[in-house]
Amino acid sequence: MSSNNLYDFSKLTSSIHEWLLGMMSPNWVTFTELVLIGLLFLLFFALLGLFLVYLERKVCAIMQNRVGPNRVGKFGLFQTIADLIKLLIKELIPIRKSDAFLFNLAPFIVIIASLMAMAALPFAKGLQAIDFNIGVFYIMAVSSLGVVGILLAGWASNSKYSIIGAMRSGAQIVSYELSVGLSLMAIVVFSGSMQLSTIIESQANGWWIFKGHIPAFIAFVVFLIASTAEINRGPFDLAEAESELTAGFHTEYSGIKFAFFFLAEYINMFIVAALAATIFLGGWMPFHIGSWEGFNHIMDFIPPIVWFFLKTFFIIYLIMWFKWTFPRLRIDQLLTLEWKYLLPVSLVNIVFIAFLVLMGWHF
Amino acid sequence: MLNREELSKIILEFVPEAEIPEGTQLTEAIIPAEKLVELAGKLKSDKRTRFDYLISHTAVDFVTHFTAVYHLESTEFRHIIVLKVKITDRENAEINSLSGLYPTCEFFEREVFDLFGIKYKNHPNLKRLFLEDDYGFPLRKDFRDEVNMIER
């Protein structure tokens, strides 16, 4: 029931490191590795964005009793690339009397926040760009930077609709960060560490959502709701409610800048789902049941990285399901939900968990 | 529900100068312009009639005069009455507004002002509803528009 027989990527990474050290001085090695990892991440970022947009359109179509894109390429797989090319060749419409510097800066801030958060995610054993000892804290802090980008976008557009959308979005994100943080803290209390690889190792004998029974489940539900609100999606997408304010804070953006906002929304969804998968569902740990050695052995054959993506895409499917089923909440209902319901629940939950851990009443 | 004779009697009671034509589909009453608001108020508040719902208000252009037509109904008794007011002055057509009694009348009156040019005294917001400010009054019989209008 340990993870000793799982493939460890640190062997691969350390052998690459050794090979590079043999060729150049340590400073150059660090620099080369930074560049390599950066390029890998950008590539992954782009491919993931393309795939997620396609996935959303297909899931949406299935729920609405239709087929979705199926003409461009086999099963419509190249649809997103076609959309990307269209966005790239669109005219960038400049706005009079808008703050040009801030207007152009806003999409970059949003993308940078997403990239920084993704750097800390553990994809498999040893396959993690940064393994801080305050991993959870780092991710929460860095993903909050996205708010700055949104507010700048709304402000610099010099349009009433954009400002209303940006204000709503800012209020929403700042409020729901509390619940996100508290529900993540629930599992930190259980596992005793903020480092993401330690949290995953502590789930070697079972995922926290099962080991932590009721309070961990409550924390999971709160996390799902709060993180859907954090990423401006699903029933909480008031900021971009197209039937009310055209497109909210990114009304005035066109072409590649709009593509950045669009992409960042999907990458944020991936980050949030990956975080839920890591902290509640065991990350790259396979699904083991107690001491069923045979079952566990079969589960071990599926590589951990596949487990990670399976769990993440399951949560992504849940989030997409919310969006296409529920109507939208109004801004005051949204904030009421957070401040009057989710926050007290999370606080009581944390106290309860601390008590449980002291007593040892968890698996 | 009051029938035609009873309604006619009540109208003549309130406004003795009213004319009640015979042989019409609904009970009609042609009244002088000054008595309009008073009669409508009495019809709305009187316990026997209770005309609280204004179905529609419009105007008709007979070439020598305008006729403003009000269709009133009672939600309690379900009888309908038609009030008509003749406006003879075509250049400065004016009539009292009923929007104090029936809020919906405000918008019917704006439509009539837009299409006929009849002005309403005491109207809270007499502006044109559909057309531009310099268009003219299309539903008048002497309106000609070479491009847009179809003729008999």
């Binding site: 729920m63 609405q64 296409w324 089923t325 529920f326 939208r328 | 719902y53 918008f107 209008m149």
Partner: protein
């Protein structure tokens, strides 16, 4: 609201004016709302109309009565049959022509099918406005079945101009009854899905309960008829007050709710869909045989006089007022359309609600803009 009032209110620094429309995803048609907001709260609202004013009433003075039918289709295009029926009934009552029983039954069946299709489209668009985008597809998928029935019999899906003075343009397709029976069986299974998707949803109920309160007195004062008025407790169904065509031969209930908020108007329309199916079931098997039209003169001339007829469209009371001078064209034709009165109650019922509620309220009033502008 006049300019003076607007200046005084704008003097407070937190107020600002926003235009919603005329091109906007949620105003159903070309309508412009000028909304004065204080933060998120609506202080007052001025609708600006006239973007689709086609001068139908003026045109009617130059064309003959059968030609007018084609114009009435295009007023409230979602209840096209019922608009046609209003003019036809007015003309037939004026000429004192008795239409065959078969015509009355078929007209009523078409009116109820049209009411169903209109409510389905309303439900789709209402859910979509509130963010539940899947409702759009559920509603339209089922509406396609009704449009297929129309296409088979009349050749067109939306605007048929089928109901003519004297009767119908031609007889219905032989498959007409069979298709309607199939549709009723199909839709009775699907309508509970609508309730599962939207009506019971707690988010939807929070968005619509207590929003856009309209009292019965307000409804009567502003002439808000149809399901919007019935949601406030005003019993205004013309099919009950002054039955026409075959409505006196069927049993159906008038749906009333007393709350007067968006959710009440929503419930009234959902229940009306069930009632329409009940009416269809009672009528579809009993269509009498006979002619599809009464004998009318080739050129229809109404005797001198004034004629008035009211019908119940999917949105309220449509009244037709014809002044005739004996010619083959009317001297004056006035359409009292339900959406005209329903629109102008918006200022009263949206004050002090949020801007997100504005979308819900205007969706629940179910406005079709060409009906307002004519």
């Amino acid at each position: 609201m006049s300019e003076e009032i607007r200046d005084v209110i704008i003097g407070e620094s937190e107020d600002y004016i926003i235009n919603i429309g005329p091109q906007h995803p949620s105003t159903h048609g070309v309508l412009r709302f000028e909304v004065c907001l204080k933060g998120e709260t609506v202080k007052y609202l001025i609708p600006h109309i006239g973007y689709i004013h086609r001068g139908i009433e003026k045109m009617c003075e130059a064309i003959t009565y059968p030609q007018i039918i084609h114009l009435t289709d295009r007023m409230d295009y979602l209840s096209a049959h019922i608009n046609n029926e209003a003019v036809c009934l007015c003309v037939e009552n004026a000429l004192q022509v008795e239409v065959p029983e078969r015509v009355k039954y078929i007209r009523t069946i078409l009116a109820e099918l049209n009411r169903l299709a209109s409510h389905q489209l309303w439900w789709s668009a209402f859910g979509m406005d509130l963010g539940a985008l899947t409702t759009f597809f559920y509603g339209l998928r089922d509406r396609e079945k009704i449009l297929d029935i129309f296409e088979e019999s009349f050749g067109s899906r939306l605007l048929h101009s089928f109901v003519m003075p004297g009767g119908l343009m031609h007889d219905v397709h032989p498959n007409f009854q069979k298709r309607i029976k199939e549709f009723i069986v199909y839709f009775r299974k699907k309508l509970p899905e609508y309730d599962q998707l939207l009506t019971g949803n707690i988010i939807f109920q929070n968005r619509s309960k207590g929003v856009g309160l309209m009292s019965r007195e307000t409804a009567i004062a502003y002439g808000v008829t149809g399901p919007s008025g019935r949601g406030s407790g005003w019993s205004c169904d013309i099919r009950k007050i002054a039955p026409y065509s075959a409505y006196d031969k069927v049993q159906f209930n008038e749906m009333l709710e007393t709350d007067g908020d968006t959710f009440a108007r929503y419930k009234v329309r959902m229940r009306e869909m069930w009632e329409s199916m009940n009416i269809l079931e009672q009528l579809v098997d009993n269509i009498p045989e006979g002619d599809y039209t009464a004998k009318m003169k080739p050129i229809i001339k109404l005797p001198v006089g004034e004629y008035f007829q009211r019908v119940e469209t999917a949105r309220g009371e449509l009244a037709v007022y014809i002044v005739s001078d004996g010619n083959k064209n009317p001297y004056r034709m006035k359409f009292r359309t339900p959406n005209f009165s329903n629109l102008f109650v918006m200022n009263t019922i949206t004050s002090n609600y949020k801007i997100a509620d504005l979308v819900a309220i205007s969706g629940s009033l179910d406005l079709v803009i060409p009906d307002i502008d004519r």
